[in-house]
Subunit: 480 residues, 2 copies
């Protein structure tokens, strides 16, 4: 373990964060919300820390697999710590724990908030919240399509982006090329959504913040009532569409933007993702039929928004689904476990893993009556390497284990049964709102401090595909 | 698929059931409860059906793997149907669906009841209920230690009983020898428990019924208040001890009875089972500390009883654990998923599978930093065959899938969130009581008819390790 290399890279990432911390300054000045200096201080502190780490550990840079894990885990942790500075320094979120919760929720694109009065916050801080989502989403796209596959985490090798570009053996240039192409797609989609939202009457500020939160499948809104505040069928439709896009694999979008739209439907994960979205929407419409919404179109609007919001792990709300039927709530709760596609900004177990788990279960069933036939599980036309399948099965076992442990700790902190379980999966799956006391019209402010710490850890674990963080707890990780 | 052979064997099993249906007659006569004739008719009907099937399909008997699955699944189904006759014919449970629910709950050693006034039932019917448990437990021991390992179901090959005896290549003698030895253990333990319970003041009748329900990890009691009705520390202690025994692998008991007690502690699954029991008891004691029970010993008595009852999937109650803390309830709910040891009469996922799932998850974590080291997961000193591991992982994926589907159907039938989830795992894990409206002081009488049908299926699926039943739904199972 070459700690100096890790610190060096983390330092350079902090320099990047320092620059990002200056982006809300124009908003602070425009809205005269008095936080421009706060962002200046925060950027300065981050810059100093970054330069120190960068300078002290300059030199030989050896990036092996272990250093990769450390860089990924600690970068999210450091970003949550330094990114929390504006909240604390401005006094908007006085408690450091709450501020770290909010920032971790931002960078992990979770969208769980401890804010009770969002609309009373300075605009620049609301922009910063949205920006943490967007930067986090940027990180996740590269992480899931370029970094984690190389580290071999949880079967992610299946989803290595096959974006054309100079094939090099060395790690760095490959990641950079992939990153540039995918970020281009991300930026374009965000810009298009923001323009469409402005076309629906949203202010420039709200449109940017919501586009950031949508494309990152984050879910932070600038309004207390989330997207419901706009009460617009057009805005709901635009956001539903872009949530669905954000929950799909970004390398498919890359091909689509280059004119190869058919790639979507040749992708088995995408097809399954589409079926789940349609299926969940249909069941929600059935459950909401004649009860809540007047017309079929209204029903479709609210049902499709909520199914997409939960499945993609965005967590925006246009309806208080806790008023829906028990079945509808149950379905949404289970949907939280599924999450978005691999290579999207969505969290959860991931559609492809769920699909492969089901296929593995069925393959085991077939084996019983055809013991001599070797059937490899396939994704698309490609047989899945048994080692990758093992990793996916291991991921599932660990995911359920972490879910159980987290719910247990949350219940121990005094949360009720439904809220504890829902909070655990809503953070582990990077969704945001859950059920019970952390439902779509509630927030996480009331949660005990110990539980907040557990939830922060859940967001990090879920976002980094568990293994990346858990591996740091192995004693042998730190040994030579 | 040789359907004639299957029908032939099912017919001969019905002949055995017909004999069993006569066993409650002495109780009917002794207690003058007027049901002697009912058992006579039931036995007669079963005998006629059995003879018809037996005679019509006599001839060549070719027992291959497929026939094995069909025999196992249909035997439990037929036993639940014919075993329900006394309840319906006596008018004690007028609804056939309810009667089948009660009988399936008996033969699968679940212990979920639709009876609201148990103590008003004729004694002979209460004995029959207890006997369905005991016979079901008998079936399960042989199934899990001799039949399923040969069929290769869900990794059960790991737990093939290594009971000494004439090794033969043919299936039948091997199963018979194993069965005889293990049933001997089962009978001895049941007799000892019944005697100990009588020593504590229980009537002969109650002692037998409770010993049957304990050793089968069933949970049917002859009293509305379950074991709490006796309010005896001695009886609680005896039952706690025997529940723990019934939840352990019966081949270990065989060795212990032959003087090799150390075998218990050389068995890794048993050690883990012991640790979980002690751990859950300790947490329950902590949660019940100073709140519910006066002394430490009282606390131990109730906490140990409940942790053992749920973990072994027995489902007896001495306390209304829904009055306990949220954490205690959560822990019991998760414990329901674990279940007893492989080769015990307990249900659930099984301790060994949970242990191997955790080990597999950790092994995948290790692989990330030691990619070149091949580490096979071990149970005890033995490496687990990767194919067996695959089967166990597939079992887990299917178990969670069936749990989700069943909870969903139960919620669709109108049950509330907690009750639906708890009822699904309480039946799938063959425990009996759950939480919410199906808690330890409630019953399943109020559950909608559709939900009862789902729960009957859950009991069957859980008891037969899923695969055995699910394989019948594969179209290729029925093709030549």
């Amino acid at each position: 373990m070459d700690i100096r290399s890790v610190v060096y890279i983390l330092g350079s990432l902090l320099l990047f964060l320092a620059v990002a911390l200056l982006l809300p300054v124009p908003f602070a000045l425009y809205y005269h919300d008095g936080t421009a200096a706060v962002f200046g201080y925060s950027a300065g502190l981050t810059l100093v820390a970054g330069i120190l780490m960068f300078k002290l550990c300059r030199g030989r840079r050896d990036l092996h697999v272990r250093e990769g894990f450390a860089v990924v885990s600690f970068s999210w942790l450091l970003f949550a710590l330094f990114g929390a500075l504006p909240f604390v320094l401005s006094g908007a979120i006085p408690s450091p724990l709450d501020a770290i919760f909010e920032t971790m929720s931002g960078f992990t694109t979770t969208g769980a908030t401890i804010l009770t009065e969002i609309e009373h916050m300075p605009q620049s801080l609301l922009f910063w919240r949205a920006l943490t989502h967007w930067l986090g989403g940027m990180g996740i796209i590269v992480l899931s399509l370029a970094v984690l596959p190389m580290l071999g985490v949880g079967g992610m090798q299946l989803f290595r982006a096959e974006v054309p570009g100079p094939t090099a053996d060395r790690l760095k240039p490959r990641i950079q090329d992939t990153a540039k192409l995918l970020w281009g797609v991300y930026v374009i989609l965000t810009a298009v959504e923001a323009l469409l939202l402005m076309g629906g009457g949203m202010s420039f500020f709200d449109a940017i913040c919501h586009a950031f939160a949508t494309m990152a499948t984050g879910g932070f809104s600038t309004r207390n009532a989330s997207v419901a505040a706009y009460d617009s069928a057009y805005i709901d439709t635009v956001i539903t569409f872009f949530m669905f896009i954000a929950g799909a694999n970004f390398s498919l979008h890359y091909y689509a933007l280059r004119g190869r739209v058919g790639t979507y439907f040749r992708n088995e994960e995408f097809r399954f993702y589409l079926y789940i979205t349609l299926g969940v929407t249909a069941v929600l419409m059935w459950q909401n039929h004649d009860r809540v919404y007047g017309s079929l179109l209204e029903n479709l609007r609210y049902s499709a928004f909520q199914s997409t919001s939960i499945l993609t792990t965005t967590g925006f709300a246009t309806a208080d689904y806790e008023q829906w039927t028990v079945l509808a709530q149950y379905l949404l709760m289970f949907t939280m476990f599924i999450g978005g596609c691999a290579g999207s900004t969505g969290g959860g177990i991931k559609v492809a893993r769920i699909l492969l788990l089901l296929k593995h279960g069925l393959a085991q069933l077939f084996r019983l009556i055809h013991p001599r036939t070797v059937r490899l599980v396939k994704l698309g036309h490609q047989a899945v390497d048994p080692e990758v399948m093992q990793a996916i099965l291991g991921f599932f076992a660990l995911f359920m284990g972490v879910f159980v442990a987290a719910s247990f700790l949350l219940a121990a902190s005094g949360m009720d049964l439904i809220s504890a379980g829902a909070a655990a999966i809503a953070t582990l799956g990077n969704i945001g709102p859950g059920l019970g006391s952390v439902g779509p019209v509630d927030n996480y402010a009331h949660v005990p401090a110990f539980a907040k710490a557990v939830l922060i850890m859940c967001m990090l674990l879920g976002r980094l595909e568990l293994f990346t963080v858990l591996v740091l707890f192995l004693p042998s990780f730190w040994r030579k």
